[in-house]
């Protein structure tokens, strides 16, 4: 192999970095095609859009709480005292051509960023893509989601308008509620009392440097791991746990993924031009003596705000110190539990299944009924908290009393998720039964046949290869066996308690699975079809040729 690179620039690169080998591998990298695999890309692309529009905004934004008198072109605020941060936000909106567009693009992209991370995570969860060997990437994803939420909230706070200032005031209240260190933490963060003049410049640095830097680093690791592990795939013909079927990076995937970046970017810019987001000029500058009805945070903080809204009053004095459980429970303990359970879920499920294999073929959600039901339960719980954050807007929109809504939601938070779990699990198991029937008895063809003795029957035809491959990819997990508590000699076994717990959890997870047909059953079904089609082949063909 004495081929030399004719292009001098490329040769220069290759002689220094030996790039050709890596490029060859990279260009042949295979990516499976499915719309739900694009959700993570939306998050990535939104992040790039955020970096681009964010850099633009920093050129004009002044992160300062120094008081100035506004004299820009937005007439209703002329002569009003405000912080430089708010005044520069108005300037960006009204006096910098393209500034308003960039502000709106930045904000829409931020909402898309956190939203896409969330739905991407749901896709990973419901298809079991977090299983071995991808557990660490799941945790990185969890951290990215949290960082995205914090980053979004800080960005929402920067313009120092009345709405974001109200949000900061609420954050200050939450910080104060932290046991032991709350008062000191608040004083340090705000540089003394609230609102002070230090906070906006401080969170500006965190918002444009610290957190984006960490996100960028983690996104890099996240994606390198995707390349290293190779993408998961849905079951189908030719797809096994040992291969990956799809399109090579060069050219198809590159065109599709690259094109999708432009689509996401284009839609975000169109929204920025057509749909108002965060009209800071409407809210007025932040002053600690004013508030607006209907003060809500951006959607991703909604669940937290909702939890705080429906929490009943609860405050104790212990050893001469105040413990504000009204805030500690909904804003610290609850999200702490939610995030911990989310991050640890891959290990919880692996423990319950006792499964130590690698998984590269995705589950269809119905084939993991307990996981799916747990996911829907968590989603419902989250959804109710989310709705709670809009209790006042729901009240006024539908002419209801928020007191009644709040009480309803307090109960619903416990009842509806449990119900959702049960219903989802039933639906999954029913779908499993349907899949089993499809394999054994085929699909209803819609063709009615009259038998010689007068009976009418509907002809069932076997499912096609693609569907069959999909259905046969179902994995039946046998629950971990209940171990004996003592050995043959009647001596108590160590660790029996833990193993028995594992067996119980495992039975709860996998006990009511509807098993996939056995080889024998499938062979029998095939023979049955063969017999039927002999007689019906002709009819079937005639109808399907229309």
């Amino acid at each position: 192999m004495s081929t030399t690179i004719s292009n001098p620039a490329l040769r220069w690169v290759d002689e220094r970095f030996g790039a050709a080998k890596g490029v060859k591998t990279a260009l042949n990298k295979v990516f499976p095609d499915h719309w739900s695999f694009m959700l993570g890309e939306i998050a990535l692309y939104s992040f790039i859009i955020l970096l681009l529009s964010g850099v633009y905004l920093t050129l004009f934004f002044v992160p300062s709480m120094t008081e100035v008198v506004y004299n820009g072109s937005f007439v209703p605020l002329k002569g009003v005292k405000m912080s430089e941060a708010y005044a520069s936000s108005l300037d960006i909106s009204f006096d910098v051509r393209g500034g308003l567009l960039m502000r709106q693009v930045h904000h829409w992209a931020a909402l898309f960023f956190v939203g896409a991370m969330s739905v991407h995570m749901l896709r990973i969860f419901f298809t079991g893509a977090f299983r071995k060997p991808r557990e660490v990437n799941w945790v990185i994803g969890t951290v990215l989601l949290l960082l995205g939420i914090v980053e979004g909230f800080l960005g929402y706070s920067l313009p120092d308008d009345l709405l974001s200032g109200t949000g900061l005031r609420i954050s200050e209240g939450l910080i104060l509620a932290t046991p032991v260190i709350g008062t000191w933490a608040s004083s340090l963060l705000f540089g003394g009392g609230f609102p002070g003049t230090d906070f906006i410049p401080r969170i500006f640095t965190i918002h444009i440097l610290l957190i984006p830097g960490i996100i960028l680093a983690l996104v890099t690791v996240h994606m390198l791991l995707v390349v290293f592990h190779k993408h998961t795939q849905f079951p189908g013909p030719g797809r096994t746990n040992r291969n990956v079927v799809g399109y090579p990076l060069m050219p198809v995937y590159m065109a599709k993924a690259g094109g999708f970046f432009f689509i996401v970017f284009g839609i975000t810019v169109l929204l920025g031009g057509l749909v108002t987001i965060n009209p800071v000029w409407m809210f007025g500058p932040y002053v600690p003596n004013a508030v607006s009805a209907g003060s809500q945070p951006d959607w991703y903080m909604g669940f937290l705000d909702g939890a705080v809204r429906i929490m009943p009053a609860l405050e104790y004095t212990i050893f001469n110190h105040t413990l504000s459980l009204s805030l500690i429970v909904p804003a610290m303990i609850l999200p702490g539990i939610m995030v911990t359970l989310m991050a640890l879920y891959p290990w919880i499920e692996a423990w319950a299944s006792g499964d130590k294999r690698e998984h590269h073929l995705l589950d269809r959600p119905r084939n993991a009924p307990t996981r799916t039901a747990l996911g829907v339960m968590a989603l419902t719980f989250y959804g109710i908290l989310w709705i709670s954050a809009g209790n006042d807007l729901i009240a006024i929109t539908f002419g209801l009393s928020f007191n009644a809504i709040t009480w309803t939601l307090r109960f619903a938070l416990f009842i509806v998720p449990a119900l959702a779990f049960w219903v989802t699990k039933r639906i999954c198991l029913s779908l499993q039964r349907r899949d089993r029937d499809l394999l054994l008895h085929g699909r209803e063809s819609g063709n009615i046949m009259r038998l010689p003795h007068g009976e009418f029957i509907e002809i069932h035809t076997p499912v096609d290869e693609a569907v069959r491959a999909k259905l046969l990819a179902k994995e039946d997990i046998t629950p971990v066996l209940m171990p004996p508590t003592e050995d043959a000699n009647g001596v108590a076994l160590p660790r029996a308690g833990r193993q028995r717990l594992q067996a119980k959890v495992s039975a709860w997870f996998y006990g009511d699975n509807v098993p996939k047909p056995t080889e024998a059953e499938l062979a029998e079904a095939e023979a049955h079809f063969a017999h039927l089609t002999d007689g019906q082949h002709h009819d079937h063909k005639e109808i399907s040729s229309h």
Partner: protein, 340 residues
């Protein structure tokens, strides 16, 4: 046709997956292929056109011009033109690239094998051996003195990084326990900053008030901290409807003929609240719906707040203007660790 796609590079390309593959119109019909080619090119050309239009819009449209559009209503002509042209310019590059990929690039799925991630037994043994030899050579296990002092040094060295954060803010000390309200200090109307005559307040009235001299204090301190603590709401309730107050005696009541002053800062998380219902005497917080009954000592009647709204004792001065009797007797605003 699919042969043509792969013949020249079959040695370096991944193998096609052994699954049935239907040919596309563009694979069979050269006309369809040319049509697809044209469609892609039109999208790219339109994109370029929109970029030009963007620049024209940027230069030509005055930022103050407004236009009325269906559905959207009156909006900034510049913003909507820039958003549409720039957005479409980007969007069309995306749709063009994808249309190209879908119609004209090979759509035969290929297969790549996976490999175990775990290292081979030999590699594990070699790595472990290398590490053990290296560790022995360093003497980290045989020289505990070095090991322990190093661990100690490593554990301590981040401390300065934390210590230097100390000067982010002052010792909160007692700052949360008092506001600028003093005995005899007049209540002024918020925004207009005028003193308030008791006789001017009808029953059912609401006044958002600040302490006299607040603006001077703010000017001196250069921040809005005092405003965040000392704002109050003043309401007048028919004395017959007042069921309780937080303090005062019959001789020296905290109200003045049914005129009551309460902190405006919610005891839950500190939103300034003045959603006052004059018939129910309820004060409602728009942030988390805590509701306080001002006719009953500011007690919480609904929502997550746990403490009543602190009452400011008021009276009138010799000229009939409302004045404070002193500072609040309890801390205002959200609860904190040192509160009780």
């Amino acid at each position: 046709m699919s042969d043509l796609v792969h013949h020249e590079s079959s040695t370096t390309r991944p193998t096609p997956a052994p699954i049935p593959h239907a040919l596309r119109r563009a694979d069979i019909d050269p006309k369809a292929a040319r049509r697809a080619e044209r469609q892609v090119a039109i999208m790219f050309a339109l994109s370029a056109l929109f970029t030009v239009l963007f620049v024209i819009a940027f230069v030509a449209i005055d930022p103050s011009v407004e236009i009325g559009l269906p559905v959207i209503g009156t909006t900034s002509a510049l913003n909507v033109s820039m958003g549409l042209t720039f957005g479409l310019a980007i969007f069309l590059i995306g749709t063009g690239a994808i249309h190209w990929a879908k119609k004209l690039m090979p759509d035969v799925e290929v297969v790549e094998e996976r490999h175990e991630f775990a290292s081979s037994a030999e590699d594990v043994a070699a790595a472990s051996e290398t590490f053990k030899v290296g560790a022995a050579e360093s003497g980290v296990m045989s020289r505990p003195l070095i090991r322990r002092t190093l661990l100690g040094a490593m554990a301590l060295f981040p401390i300065p990084l934390i210590v230097t954060l100390r000067d982010l803010g002052p010792d909160p000390a007692t700052s949360k326990f008092h506001t600028m309200w003093r005995s005899g200090m007049r209540l002024h109307t918020d925004v207009s900053n005028q003193p308030i005559r008791a006789a001017d307040i009808p029953v059912g009235n609401l006044i958002n008030a600040i302490p006299d001299g607040l603006e001077e204090v703010e000017h001196e301190e250069g921040n809005l901290n005092e405003r965040a603590k000392s704002v109050v709401v003043v309401v007048r309730i028919d004395p017959a409807d007042i069921r309780s107050q937080q303090g005062g005696t019959a001789e020296e009541p905290w109200d003045y003929n049914g005129i009551l002053a309460f902190s405006k800062v919610c005891t839950h998380v500190g939103c300034p609240i003045s959603l006052y219902e004059q018939r129910t005497h309820h004060l409602l917080c728009p942030c988390h719906q805590s509701t306080f009954d001002l006719a009953d000592g500011g007690k919480v009647v609904f929502g997550p707040a746990a403490r009543p709204m602190p009452q400011l004792a008021i009276t009138v001065d010799s000229e009939g203007y409302l004045v404070a009797q002193g500072d609040f007797t309890v801390p205002i605003g959200p609860s904190f660790w040192e509160l009780s």
